[in-house]
Amino acid sequence: MTAPSPHVDVRAPRFAAGLTSVVLAVALLTAGGWLVAAQALVFAVGALAGLRFSPYGLLFRTLVAPRLGPVREREPEAPPRFAQLVGLLFTVVGAAGYLLGAPALGAVATGLALVAALLNAATGFCLGCELYLTARRALPARTA
């Protein structure tokens, strides 16, 4: 946290959230457990390796960004990267639900991930980022 975090084009996470929403909506309609698992893998790469390596980020840089014009604004990577981790948790539960014979659990977890992704795509609001503190303060105090 002391090292300066890399910066990303603000439009990249919005694009990724939009694509994620489409993937999760299709997965819900088809009860596609493997599709949810694929999305979980995309989240895992973004969360663990960094947004530079995220497949959706790559797609944005190579196909979308050249058509949109120059970068106008950049933001630190940490908030959208944390959002990938939140997405990963929900999609892992969703994929496990579908693939291990609990389709209702699969659908609900996938639906929750969809709400967060769609809200991010539509308004730029990062639900997981804002509620991070709620989760953090529930853990035992470790006041520095």
Partner: protein, 149 residues
């Protein structure tokens, strides 16, 4: 087509629309703090004191809680810094929420950014969760720490 999938999708779309509406209209709105909540007020002032807040030094002191995973915190911080350049009566205290979890619990901070607004007497005149709207923030600052004639 999965029936349960269609139902969940419909609920998810409705929930997203409701959340987007709420985010547009209510997010970051400044709420008044009820006077009768005296016990909470006392606990709050002790927490502010530990954070190094000195309300007596300025007309209005804004205390902002942020985390590293918070995009809107940056924009709010920049806006407050900008307001400070033209309003000498405004003081700003930036708090890293994660390293002050005791105060976070005492003041019941759940999201970031959360802002507290204190007048010169140390009374809490309001609080807001989420990035405040620029015009509302400016109006509140001017009401307490504006350039007076």
């Amino acid at each position: 087509m999965s029936t349960i999938g269609i139902v969940v999708l419909a609920v998810a779309l409705a929930a997203t629309a409701a959340a987007a509406w709420w985010q547009r209209t209510r997010n970051g709105a400044v709420r008044a703090v009820p006077d009768d909540d005296e016990e909470a007020g006392m606990a709050g002032s002790a927490a502010f004191e530990r954070l190094g807040v000195r309300p007596a030094d300025a007309d209005l002191t804004v205390v902002q809680f942020s985390t590293a995973f918070c995009g809107p915190c940056r924009a709010t911080k920049a806006r407050l810094a900008q307001l400070q350049t033209t309003r000498p009566g405004l003081a700003v205290v930036q708090v890293d929420a994660e390293s002050h979890l005791d105060e976070v619990r005492e003041l019941d901070v759940r999201r970031t950014p959360t802002l507290f607004y204190l007048d010169r007497s140390g009374a809490l005149v309001g609080r807001s969760s989420g990035a405040p709207r620029p015009d509302e923030l400016t109006a509140l600052v001017d009401a307490h720490a504006g350039v007076s004639g």
